[in-house]
């Protein structure tokens, strides 16, 4: 099932849902004809869209709103915080092309602080699916939940068959005593590659798909840090405020420490190009991740990374 099919089905089954967009149609191309006046395109007006979503929510609606991640989280930030966060209204943010998925657009379109911003808003919940199946598995619980939510939309396909989603729980893909990789979003597919390479080098490697970044699965972080010699945080986000920060906060809260290697964007935006080139240039392919962890090069072959179709 695709994102659009799930959203259509959900909205047709429940009159409370309205679908909104700030002229970002890629995810909802067929929905206007099916939902009629419960589809609302406010044009390129992210702030007004969020304010209007709050008004609709005041009247009992559940608005699922769409815009590019950078503009939804940053252009409209104060509207999200003030009109969705303070009143705790069930406004469901679907953020498009987050992180590396903005590929060739450049820094204006790079949402690489979105997790930090959204998790800083009281009442807001934050999610980052590993692929399309993970996305479609988690959305029914997120949309049914009474709080506002922020979801990093990721419609890429992987071969991985995910376990059922539970809000606030990570997906423990594998356990390992040498290394555990914690990740979320599109880098899950590169993490799977890195794990195979590391295993071939004789290491015991764990992998955790974080899924739910707020509420976060503290237990998964604590157990990984206490049972693995090295914890790796892997994210297409600034190093400040994302998963590396969440791990640090969690360990400190539990009066623990650990050896943690962060893969993140440290005080920089990424080089704009098509996605496979971005990952290669920034050192985020599975092979590059594994070799940086190992400290040496291997004979492993990086599988081809598919270029996403342009969609805004």
């Amino acid at each position: 099932m695709t994102y659009e099919e799930l959203l259509t089905e959900t909205a047709l089954a429940n009159e409370r849902y309205v679908v909104m967009t700030a002229e970002n149609r890629a995810l909802v191309r067929n929905i206007p004809g099916k939902l009629g006046n419960r589809f609302i395109d406010t044009g390129i007006t992210e702030q007004t869209m969020i304010g209007a979503a709050a008004g609709l929510a005041l009247r009992g609606r559940i608005p699922v709103v769409h815009a590019l991640a950078s503009f939804l989280t940053m252009r409209a930030f104060e509207f999200v915080r003030t009109d969705a966060g303070i009143p705790n209204l069930p406004i469901k943010l679907s953020s498009f092309i987050p992180g590396f998925l903005s590929d060739g657009n450049g820094p204006t379109h790079q949402a690489v602080e979105d997790i930090a911003l959204m998790r800083g808003i009281p009442n807001m919940t934050v999610f980052a699916p590993a692929d399309e199946q993970d996305l479609v598995n988690m959305l029914p619980q997120i949309w049914a939940h009474p709080n506002p939510s922020y979801v990093r939309i990721n419609t890429r396909k992987t071969d991985y068959n995910h376990s059922p989603f539970e809000l606030g729980k990570a997906e423990i893909v594998a356990k390992g005593t040498d290394i555990t990789i914690l990740t979320y979003g599109l880098l899950f597919e590169q993490a799977l590659i890195a794990v195979e390479i590391l295993k071939n080098e004789g290491l015991s490697v764990g992998l955790i798909n974080m899924r739910s970044l707020k509420p976060v699965d503290e237990n998964a972080i604590v157990v990984a840090s206490q049972t693995s010699k090295l914890v790796v945080t892997l994210e297409d986000h600034f190093q400040t405020g994302g998963l590396y920060t969440i791990v640090a906060e969690t360990l400190l809260k539990h009066q623990l420490t650990a050896k943690v290697l962060p893969f993140a964007l440290n005080e920089k935006w990424f080089k704009p190009s098509l996605l496979p080139n971005v990952l290669e240039y920034e050192g985020f392919t599975g092979k590059q991740i594994a070799e940086k962890i190992l400290g040496y090069n291997t004979q492993s072959v990086q599988p081809e990374i598919l270029t996403p179709q342009f969609s805004e």
Partner: protein, 287 residues
Amino acid sequence: MQSVKTNFSELEAVALKVREHIIRMSTDGGCFVGASLSATDLIVYLYAQFLNVNANNLDDPNRDYLFLSKGHDVPALYGTFAELGLLAPERLKNHLSTTDHIYWHPNTRIPGIEFHSGSLGHLPSVAIGVAMDIKIKGGKNKVICIIGDGELNEGTCWEAVLVANAYKLDNLIFVIDRNQFQANMATEDLIPLEPLHDKFTAFGASVKRINGHSFDALHEAFSAFPFETGKLNVVIADTVRGKGLPSIERRADRWFCNFNASEVEDLLKELHGERITQLTSETLVVR
């Protein structure tokens, strides 16, 4: 690059070359072809004829400024830079490569780009700041901001008009590329803008509405700068999205285009008046 030419055949030749550059950039990842072609004549006119900006005066505080706020039209700007000597033409082949800085939105690593853009409704305000400083210093520089018509959805564009009016910024020109489309749809079918001339006039600006593909009309309008003492200048340039390529002109599904190699060859011929290309690459249809 100011001159007193009034025969614009030379500019037409430059614009044709710029359109060729845009078409060549629309493959291997693609670019925003429609918005670039609508703004081409405008950008060529302004750099070749109106603005005091060239490869040798980019650091001169007395040069003129052009801010490209809509951003999607940057291939037209790069193509113009290539034709006017601000950018080595062979660098256009580096579009989307990690070896260069040429991608879907403008950035200041390319000399001549005054400010990065891509998030809509920012540069009208940035242009105001530059125009304010020029006023304070008593300078004669002209400041232009090219704004997309869809971009006018963003409230900050209208805040900027209010502020420019309050500070009587008659050294500033907002040029609206009125190509009738925002990304997926016709503006008048989604968030209607008309009567646009009246809207700007009501906000205190002095407004001219012209054919944005006619060098004569562009020249007549810009030669009247400043339009009225103490008033923000607004030029509404009526344009056609995709201008020059009948196969994509005014088509809602052809704003971002990632053409295959044979389409590019056919489109280059179409630009020169040969038969209309049968496009097979994927479209971005709104249903």
